[in-house]
Protein backbone atom coordinates (compact mmCIF):
# COMPACT_ATOMS: atom_id res chain seq x y z
CA UNK A 1 0.00 0.00 0.00
CA UNK A 2 2.45 2.66 -1.10
CA UNK A 3 1.38 6.29 -1.20
CA UNK A 4 0.94 7.70 -4.70
CA UNK A 5 1.54 11.34 -5.46
CA UNK A 6 -0.40 13.45 -7.93
CA UNK A 7 2.06 16.30 -8.31
CA UNK A 8 -0.23 18.42 -10.45
CA UNK A 9 -2.44 18.69 -7.38
CA UNK A 10 0.34 19.43 -4.89
CA UNK A 11 0.15 23.04 -3.73
CA UNK A 12 3.47 22.97 -1.88
CA UNK A 13 2.00 23.75 1.54
CA UNK A 14 4.18 21.22 3.35
CA UNK A 15 1.26 20.03 5.48
CA UNK A 16 2.40 16.45 4.91
CA UNK A 17 5.84 17.29 6.31
CA UNK A 18 4.29 18.80 9.42
CA UNK A 19 1.87 15.91 9.88
CA UNK A 20 4.67 13.37 9.50
CA UNK A 21 6.84 15.16 12.03
CA UNK A 22 3.98 15.31 14.47
CA UNK A 23 3.34 11.59 14.23
CA UNK A 24 6.99 10.53 14.34
CA UNK A 25 8.20 12.57 17.28
CA UNK A 26 9.76 15.55 15.53
CA UNK A 27 11.56 13.70 12.76
CA UNK A 28 9.58 13.56 9.54
CA UNK A 29 10.07 11.29 6.60
CA UNK A 30 8.55 13.53 3.95
CA UNK A 31 10.30 16.34 2.14
CA UNK A 32 8.59 18.66 -0.31
CA UNK A 33 10.82 19.75 -3.17
CA UNK A 34 10.25 22.83 -5.25
CA UNK A 35 11.19 23.57 -8.85
CA UNK A 36 11.28 27.35 -8.66
CA UNK A 37 7.71 28.44 -8.05
CA UNK A 38 6.50 26.21 -10.87
CA UNK A 39 6.00 22.89 -9.21
CA UNK A 40 6.36 21.04 -5.96
CA UNK A 41 6.57 17.39 -5.19
CA UNK A 42 6.54 15.62 -1.85
CA UNK A 43 9.11 12.84 -1.73
CA UNK A 44 9.03 9.94 0.69
CA UNK A 45 9.61 6.22 0.72
CA UNK A 46 8.12 4.59 -2.38
CA UNK A 47 8.17 1.13 -0.77
CA UNK A 48 9.84 -0.15 -3.93
CA UNK A 49 9.10 -3.63 -5.14
CA UNK A 50 12.79 -4.19 -5.73
CA UNK A 51 13.89 -2.18 -2.73
CA UNK A 52 17.58 -1.38 -2.97
CA UNK A 53 17.76 -0.42 0.71
CA UNK A 54 16.82 -3.99 1.63
CA UNK A 55 19.51 -5.28 -0.72
CA UNK A 56 22.12 -3.04 0.87
CA UNK A 57 21.07 -3.82 4.45
CA UNK A 58 23.17 -6.71 5.69
CA UNK A 59 21.59 -7.19 9.12
CA UNK A 60 18.05 -7.63 7.81
CA UNK A 61 16.78 -4.50 9.56
CA UNK A 62 15.17 -3.39 6.31
CA UNK A 63 13.00 -6.03 4.70
CA UNK A 64 10.02 -6.40 2.42
CA UNK A 65 6.85 -7.07 4.39
CA UNK A 66 4.21 -7.52 1.71
CA UNK A 67 4.00 -4.24 -0.17
CA UNK A 68 5.60 -2.38 2.69
CA UNK A 69 9.34 -1.95 3.18
CA UNK A 70 9.59 -2.61 6.88
CA UNK A 71 12.29 -1.34 9.19
CA UNK A 72 13.21 -3.13 12.42
CA UNK A 73 15.10 -0.62 14.53
CA UNK A 74 16.51 -3.22 16.93
CA UNK A 75 18.55 -4.81 14.13
CA UNK A 76 19.96 -1.54 12.79
CA UNK A 77 23.66 -0.80 13.34
CA UNK A 78 23.59 2.68 11.82
CA UNK A 79 26.04 1.84 9.04
CA UNK A 80 24.40 4.16 6.51
CA UNK A 81 24.43 1.74 3.57
CA UNK A 82 20.66 2.06 3.10
CA UNK A 83 20.97 5.83 3.01
CA UNK A 84 23.42 5.55 0.15
CA UNK A 85 21.47 2.84 -1.68
CA UNK A 86 18.11 4.63 -1.71
CA UNK A 87 17.60 6.19 -5.15
CA UNK A 88 15.24 8.80 -3.75
CA UNK A 89 17.21 9.88 -0.72
CA UNK A 90 14.34 9.08 1.64
CA UNK A 91 16.14 6.82 4.13
CA UNK A 92 18.19 8.79 6.61
CA UNK A 93 20.85 7.67 9.00
CA UNK A 94 21.46 9.84 12.03
CA UNK A 95 22.52 7.44 14.73
CA UNK A 96 20.20 4.78 13.42
CA UNK A 97 18.30 4.64 10.16
CA UNK A 98 14.80 6.05 9.87
CA UNK A 99 12.26 5.96 7.10
CA UNK A 100 8.57 6.10 6.28
CA UNK A 101 6.64 3.30 8.03
CA UNK A 102 3.29 4.17 6.42
CA UNK A 103 2.12 5.15 9.91
CA UNK A 104 1.80 1.53 10.93
CA UNK A 105 -1.10 1.13 13.35
CA UNK A 106 -3.12 3.84 11.63
CA UNK A 107 -5.59 2.84 9.00
CA UNK A 108 -4.37 5.49 6.56
CA UNK A 109 -0.99 7.25 6.66
CA UNK A 110 -1.28 10.68 8.28
CA UNK A 111 0.12 12.55 5.26
CA UNK A 112 -2.84 11.35 3.19
CA UNK A 113 -5.48 12.40 5.70
CA UNK A 114 -3.74 15.76 6.12
CA UNK A 115 -3.15 16.77 2.49
CA UNK A 116 -5.61 19.61 1.80
CA UNK A 117 -5.28 19.26 -1.97
CA UNK A 118 -5.93 15.51 -2.20
CA UNK A 119 -2.58 15.05 -3.90
CA UNK A 120 -1.78 11.89 -1.97
CA UNK A 121 -3.64 8.59 -2.09
CA UNK A 122 -3.07 4.90 -1.68
CA UNK A 123 -5.20 4.17 -4.72
CA UNK A 124 -2.99 3.18 -7.65
CA UNK A 125 -5.89 3.20 -10.12
CA UNK A 126 -6.84 6.75 -9.24
CA UNK A 127 -3.28 8.01 -9.68
CA UNK A 128 -2.81 6.20 -12.95
CA UNK A 129 -6.20 7.33 -14.26
CA UNK A 130 -5.38 10.95 -13.54
CA UNK A 131 -1.98 10.58 -15.17
CA UNK A 132 -3.47 9.06 -18.30
CA UNK A 133 -6.08 11.80 -18.47
CA UNK A 134 -3.37 14.42 -18.23
CA UNK A 135 -1.26 12.74 -20.90
CA UNK A 136 -4.27 12.62 -23.21
CA UNK A 137 -4.92 16.30 -22.53
CA UNK A 138 -1.32 17.15 -23.39
CA UNK A 139 -1.59 15.29 -26.69
CA UNK A 140 -4.87 17.04 -27.49
CA UNK A 141 -3.20 20.42 -26.95
CA UNK A 142 -0.29 19.69 -29.23
CA UNK A 143 1.90 17.70 -26.89
CA UNK A 144 5.20 18.82 -25.51
CA UNK A 145 7.64 20.75 -27.60
Amino acid sequence: MPVYIDISRCIGCRSCEVACKRVHGGKGHVNVHFAGDQASVPLFCHHCEEATCTMACYTGALSKDGERTAFAVEKCTGCGLCYLACPFGVVWTDKLARKCDLCIGNEVPTCITTCPANALSTDFDLASRRARARAAMAVAHGGRK
Binding site: I7, S8, A35, E50, G80, L84, S128, A138, K145
Partner: protein
Protein backbone atom coordinates in the same frame (compact mmCIF):
# COMPACT_ATOMS: atom_id res chain seq x y z
CA UNK B 1 41.26 -7.97 21.28
CA UNK B 2 40.18 -6.94 17.82
CA UNK B 3 42.33 -7.30 14.75
CA UNK B 4 41.37 -5.17 11.79
CA UNK B 5 41.89 -5.89 8.13
CA UNK B 6 42.14 -2.31 6.92
CA UNK B 7 41.92 -3.29 3.26
CA UNK B 8 38.44 -4.72 3.88
CA UNK B 9 37.08 -1.95 6.13
CA UNK B 10 34.45 0.18 4.39
CA UNK B 11 34.29 2.90 7.04
CA UNK B 12 30.65 2.47 7.96
CA UNK B 13 30.97 2.96 11.75
CA UNK B 14 28.86 -0.11 12.53
CA UNK B 15 31.50 -1.47 14.91
CA UNK B 16 31.70 1.83 16.71
CA UNK B 17 27.92 1.98 16.99
CA UNK B 18 27.50 -1.49 18.46
CA UNK B 19 30.54 -1.48 20.81
CA UNK B 20 29.13 -1.62 24.37
CA UNK B 21 32.37 -0.39 26.00
CA UNK B 22 33.06 2.39 23.48
CA UNK B 23 36.50 1.11 22.56
CA UNK B 24 36.06 2.06 18.94
CA UNK B 25 36.28 5.77 18.39
CA UNK B 26 35.06 7.69 15.38
CA UNK B 27 35.86 11.12 14.24
CA UNK B 28 33.92 12.78 11.45
CA UNK B 29 35.22 15.89 9.75
CA UNK B 30 33.89 17.79 6.76
CA UNK B 31 35.91 15.91 4.18
CA UNK B 32 37.03 12.74 5.89
CA UNK B 33 36.40 10.19 8.55
CA UNK B 34 38.64 8.35 10.94
CA UNK B 35 37.95 5.19 12.95
CA UNK B 36 40.27 4.24 15.77
CA UNK B 37 40.27 0.83 17.47
CA UNK B 38 41.61 0.91 21.03
CA UNK B 39 43.27 -2.16 22.50
CA UNK B 40 40.46 -3.83 24.33
CA UNK B 41 40.51 -6.71 26.76
CA UNK B 42 36.87 -7.58 26.33
CA UNK B 43 35.92 -11.00 25.08
CA UNK B 44 32.82 -9.70 23.37
CA UNK B 45 32.61 -9.96 19.61
CA UNK B 46 29.65 -7.75 18.76
CA UNK B 47 31.71 -5.64 16.39
CA UNK B 48 33.01 -8.77 14.65
CA UNK B 49 29.50 -10.04 14.27
CA UNK B 50 28.10 -6.80 12.91
CA UNK B 51 30.90 -5.85 10.53
CA UNK B 52 29.38 -5.79 7.03
CA UNK B 53 32.77 -6.38 5.40
CA UNK B 54 34.01 -9.08 7.80
CA UNK B 55 37.09 -6.96 8.36
CA UNK B 56 37.35 -7.64 12.12
CA UNK B 57 38.70 -10.65 13.97
CA UNK B 58 38.85 -11.57 17.63
CA UNK B 59 42.47 -12.35 18.65
CA UNK B 60 44.14 -12.92 22.05
CA UNK B 61 45.15 -9.75 23.91
CA UNK B 62 48.65 -8.40 23.28
CA UNK B 63 50.02 -5.42 25.18
CA UNK B 64 52.55 -4.45 22.53
CA UNK B 65 50.31 -4.40 19.47
CA UNK B 66 49.58 -1.01 18.02
CA UNK B 67 46.13 0.52 17.80
CA UNK B 68 44.88 0.50 14.22
CA UNK B 69 43.44 3.55 12.52
CA UNK B 70 41.31 3.67 9.41
CA UNK B 71 41.29 6.98 7.59
CA UNK B 72 38.91 7.66 4.71
CA UNK B 73 38.41 10.57 2.37
CA UNK B 74 34.78 11.22 1.59
CA UNK B 75 33.63 11.21 -2.03
CA UNK B 76 32.11 14.44 -3.30
CA UNK B 77 28.70 14.53 -4.93
CA UNK B 78 29.00 15.32 -8.63
CA UNK B 79 26.00 17.63 -8.54
CA UNK B 80 26.24 19.65 -5.34
CA UNK B 81 29.86 19.02 -4.31
CA UNK B 82 29.02 17.97 -0.77
CA UNK B 83 31.12 15.14 0.60
CA UNK B 84 28.93 12.32 1.76
CA UNK B 85 30.36 8.78 1.70
CA UNK B 86 33.50 6.71 1.60
CA UNK B 87 34.56 5.09 -1.66
CA UNK B 88 34.40 1.47 -0.37
CA UNK B 89 30.84 1.96 0.87
CA UNK B 90 29.73 3.10 -2.58
CA UNK B 91 31.58 0.21 -4.20
CA UNK B 92 29.87 -2.17 -1.84
CA UNK B 93 26.42 -0.88 -2.71
CA UNK B 94 27.14 -1.03 -6.42
CA UNK B 95 28.18 -4.63 -5.99
CA UNK B 96 25.00 -5.71 -4.15
CA UNK B 97 22.63 -4.21 -6.71
CA UNK B 98 21.26 -6.57 -9.36
CA UNK B 99 22.45 -5.89 -12.89
CA UNK B 100 19.12 -4.61 -14.18
CA UNK B 101 19.26 -1.70 -11.74
CA UNK B 102 22.71 -0.65 -12.85
CA UNK B 103 23.72 2.05 -15.23
CA UNK B 104 22.31 2.51 -18.68
CA UNK B 105 22.43 5.55 -20.90
CA UNK B 106 18.81 6.06 -21.88
CA UNK B 107 18.81 9.80 -21.46
CA UNK B 108 16.01 11.05 -19.31
CA UNK B 109 14.97 7.78 -17.77
CA UNK B 110 16.60 6.86 -14.51
CA UNK B 111 19.40 8.95 -13.18
CA UNK B 112 19.59 11.19 -16.21
CA UNK B 113 16.15 12.35 -15.32
CA UNK B 114 17.03 13.09 -11.71
CA UNK B 115 20.01 15.06 -12.90
CA UNK B 116 17.76 16.92 -15.29
CA UNK B 117 15.49 17.96 -12.44
CA UNK B 118 18.52 18.94 -10.38
CA UNK B 119 19.68 21.12 -13.28
CA UNK B 120 16.32 22.86 -13.39
CA UNK B 121 16.49 23.50 -9.65
CA UNK B 122 19.97 24.93 -10.06
CA UNK B 123 19.02 27.13 -12.99
CA UNK B 124 16.25 28.60 -10.89
CA UNK B 125 18.80 29.52 -8.28
CA UNK B 126 16.86 27.41 -5.87
CA UNK B 127 19.02 25.11 -3.83
CA UNK B 128 17.20 21.89 -3.23
CA UNK B 129 16.89 21.19 0.46
CA UNK B 130 18.97 18.13 -0.07
CA UNK B 131 20.71 17.34 -3.28
CA UNK B 132 19.01 14.62 -5.27
CA UNK B 133 22.38 13.46 -6.34
CA UNK B 134 23.90 13.91 -2.94
CA UNK B 135 21.64 11.26 -1.52
CA UNK B 136 24.01 8.84 -3.20
CA UNK B 137 26.43 8.67 -6.07
CA UNK B 138 24.51 5.49 -6.57
CA UNK B 139 21.94 7.66 -8.29
CA UNK B 140 24.19 7.59 -11.29
CA UNK B 141 23.86 3.85 -11.56
CA UNK B 142 20.08 3.77 -11.68
CA UNK B 143 18.04 3.11 -14.75
CA UNK B 144 14.65 3.33 -13.09
CA UNK B 145 12.55 6.02 -11.53
CA UNK B 146 9.48 4.54 -10.14
CA UNK B 147 6.04 3.87 -11.49
CA UNK B 148 3.58 6.69 -11.60
CA UNK B 149 5.76 9.43 -10.22
CA UNK B 150 8.35 9.03 -12.97
CA UNK B 151 5.80 9.48 -15.67
CA UNK B 152 4.07 12.27 -13.79
CA UNK B 153 7.24 14.22 -13.19
CA UNK B 154 8.41 13.69 -16.71
CA UNK B 155 5.23 15.07 -18.22
CA UNK B 156 5.10 17.98 -15.84
CA UNK B 157 8.71 19.03 -16.18
CA UNK B 158 8.82 18.62 -19.91
CA UNK B 159 5.76 20.80 -20.27
CA UNK B 160 7.36 23.31 -17.93
CA UNK B 161 10.60 23.29 -19.85
CA UNK B 162 9.37 25.95 -22.24
CA UNK B 163 8.74 28.30 -19.29
CA UNK B 164 12.33 28.27 -18.09
Amino acid sequence: MIKVDLSKCVGCNSCSNVCPSQNILREDTADGKRIHWKRCKEECDLCVEFCPAKALMLVPFEEASEEPDAIFDLVACKICGARYATEPMLKRIESVLPVNLQKDSTGLSGFGFVQYVAEILKRNGQPSRWCWGGAGRIHETYSFFLRVISHELFLLYSSLQSCF
